[in-house]
């Protein structure tokens, strides 16, 4: 465990170091932040002076070292646009994204597990066939198309659900949560379904095929031969084994889901990190961008770590310490 944690921390540092370097080297390619800070009237000379003042004209190495020096102290710089420390901006936006991803994850779990298991147990049933057909269609529709169709149907035509934003949030010790108000939950529904839509079919299929495979194993046959009741065989013996590969894939996919939040949040005007990222790109808010990349890199490592730990808990044959 000790080695595992140390290795993951070193890995995270390594990942973030590289990411910050790459992120930093992009800075000149995404535009001039000063351009966005001032009106169109401001003269080039004024802009240059401002750039000087902000240190944007320093050599790359100077800038990176300055950044790295501050980063070590937990300061990832000021966001040009938000005029606040980049980390503070991310911290303020993170709850929205985390809740969105969490909501989508809940949807994925609560739909894909029962549906996947059912269609594995009864692969020939009409419901299973329908699910399979539907999920193939599901993976084939781009996430932004799903999002816009959802808005069109449920907000514009039916007027059931709000179309944008997070609605009312409750401040829980600095965490603005949408989970505790009816309004917040209503606002969460469409975006999390849109986000889930891309992964849901994948997981239904994954769970189905894994479960079907597990049901064919010797130990399940042995469980039948022991005269166990089928619920126990399905939900204890088969399910736990099905979960193992599902957890691994879930770990990878949850990382990818963070990437997809960029599109979802844009369409739903969801004020989270993905939206912030795109805005930072549009505003050439380089410190915010680099901070974002580093945080996402860290989240990626953390998620993988947590997934590995959960995997280790479910799978007794894996010892986290060794290999």
């Amino acid at each position: 465990m000790f080695a595992f944690v140390v290795r993951r921390i070193t890995q995270a540092i390594f990942v973030m170091l590289i990411i910050s370097l790459v992120g930093f080297s992009i800075k000149n390619e995404i535009g001039d932040p000063v351009r966005d800070m001032v009106g169109e009237r401001v003269t080039p000379a004024e802009r240059e002076a401002l750039r000087d003042k902000l240190g944007l004209n320093d050599p790359f190495v100077t800038q990176y070292l300055r950044f790295a020096k501050n980063a070590v102290q937990g300061d990832l710089g000021l966001s040009f646009f938000h005029k606040k420390p980049a980390l503070a901006v991310i911290a303020a936006k993170a709850p929205a994204t985390l809740e969105l991803v969490f909501g989508a994850a809940l949807i994925i779990i609560f739909i894909s597990l029962p549906v996947g298991i059912f269609s594995a147990i009864y692969p020939q049933s009409a419901f299973s066939r329908f699910t399979m057909a539907f999920s193939t269609l599901g993976v084939s529709v781009p996430v932004f198309l799903t999002a816009i169709v959802l808005i069109y149907i449920f907000s514009v035509e039916l007027n059931w659900l709000p179309s944008y934003g997070r609605g009312e949030t409750v401040n829980l010790w600095g965490w603005h949560s949408g989970f505790f108000t009816v309004d917040g939950i209503l606002h969460l529904i469409l975006p999390s379904f849109a986000l889930a839509s891309i992964m849901l079919p994948l997981f239904i299929r994954l769970i189905r095929s894994e479960m079907m495979e597990v049901l064919e194993t010797e130990y399940i046959k042995f469980a039948w031969a022991k005269g166990l009741r089928r619920k126990r065989i399905w939900f204890v013996h088969a399910f736990k084994n099905t979960l193992l590969p599902v957890i691994t894939v879930f770990g990878v996919q949850i990382g990818i889901m963070f990437a997809f939040t960029i599109l979802t949040e844009t369409v739903f005007q969801w004020q989270g990190m993905g939206f912030m990222f795109l805005e930072a790109v549009e505003r050439s808010d380089i410190s915010l961008l680099v901070a974002y990349l580093m945080v996402v890199g860290a989240i990626f490592v953390v998620v993988n770590t947590v997934v590995d730990i959960i995997y280790g808990l479910v799978n007794p044959t894996i010892r986290i310490a060794g290999r």
């Binding site: 990942v15 781009p142 932004f144 299929r205």
Partner: protein, 306 residues
């Protein structure tokens, strides 16, 4: 050649293909789409990429069967007055080109990395897999911005239209190679301890030959299977990049950029601009996915994405 064909004719692959109506249907549709796309100039009534053909006054005409529709534009026109049918066919070609190109690139990169990491193991493995992690945690949007910028600096904007396709191939190829690397690595780790590899070592073959001639072919099944999914994904990634304004130039719309306009036209009443390309793209991606599913079931039931 004839022998290979005969072998194929007798193979389990073909047998199970013939048994599967969905697979046959998907294959036929895909083939039709591929032929249409690749022979776009033959099938499409106009060349939508030739700006001289376009008249703004023809813009947003509905399909021919509708009241205001014109016979000349069977599926209507887009806002610039481009014939939608022609644009879709040309867009299809682009999507196929980008999808396949990106998958070949990410496949080659990922397979080589996965093979090295899986077979050589140790430090090389650790380093390569960390690189894959970094790549995975890097949004492809960033990759897109970065590479677009490099291309622009290197070639200037005059070349942009011609370079957009290779550019997108490089972007999507670079962002997704870890998928291959991980799959191939897992597969190689399973293969490298098999006795046929030891047999090759006993013969005295060097590790490169063993890696590329013995182990690699045996990981190809999984590569083939994820490739179908990845082609579909690449086509969708292109659509997503277009959606964010980083895809094909406006004068050469791909299916993705056509759907992007779906976002703009959803309330406008000009549904055909969205619907037809959308259905076209979903159809293309779906038949590829269906074939991928079938292939996975036949070749390797244990494979999944990730």
């Amino acid at each position: 050649m004839i022998k290979t064909w005969q072998r194929f004719k007798a193979s389990y692959l073909l047998f199970s293909f013939k048994q599967d109506k969905t697979a046959i249907f998907s294959f036929v549709v895909l083939l039709a789409l591929l032929v249409t796309g690749l022979l776009a100039p033959v099938f499409s009534p106009y060349d939508p990429y030739d700006p001289a053909n376009i008249d703004i006054m023809n813009s947003e005409l509905p399909p021919a069967w509708m009241e205001e529709g014109e016979k000349a534009f069977m599926l209507g026109t887009d806002i610039q007055g481009r014939d939608l049918l022609s644009t879709m066919i040309y867009g299809l070609r682009l999507s196929i080109l980008i999808g396949c190109g990106a998958v070949i690139l990410q496949g080659v990169l990922g397979v080589v990395v996965g093979l090295l990491a899986g077979y050589l193991g140790g430090k090389i493995d650790a380093v390569l897999m960390r690189v894959a992690d970094i790549q995975l945690s890097f949004p492809y949007l960033m990759v897109a911005i970065f590479i677009s910028a490099i291309f622009q600096v290197a070639f200037g904007i005059g070349q942009y239209e011609d370079l957009a396709v290779p550019l997108l191939i490089v972007i999507i190829g670079l962002s997704e190679w870890p998928v291959y690397a991980r799959t191939v690595r897992a597969s190689v780790m399973g293969e490298k301890n098999k006795e046929y590899v030891e047999a090759a070592r006993v013969i005295g073959l060097n590790r490169w030959r063993i890696m590329f001639r013995h182990v690699l072919p045996n990981t190809m099944t999984s590569v083939l299977v994820i490739s179908t999914i990845q082609v579909a994904n690449a086509i969708m990634s292109e659509a997503a990049l277009s959606f964010l304004g980083l895809g094909m130039p406006v004068t050469k719309p791909s299916l993705g950029s056509l759907i992007r306009s779906g976002f703009e036209y959803i309330f406008s009443g000009s549904w055909w601009i969205t619907l037809f390309p959308g259905v076209f793209l979903v159809l293309l991606v779906m038949v590829i996915n269906l074939l991928g599913d079938w292939l996975r079931d036949v070749l390797n039931p244990k494979l999944y994405k990730g």
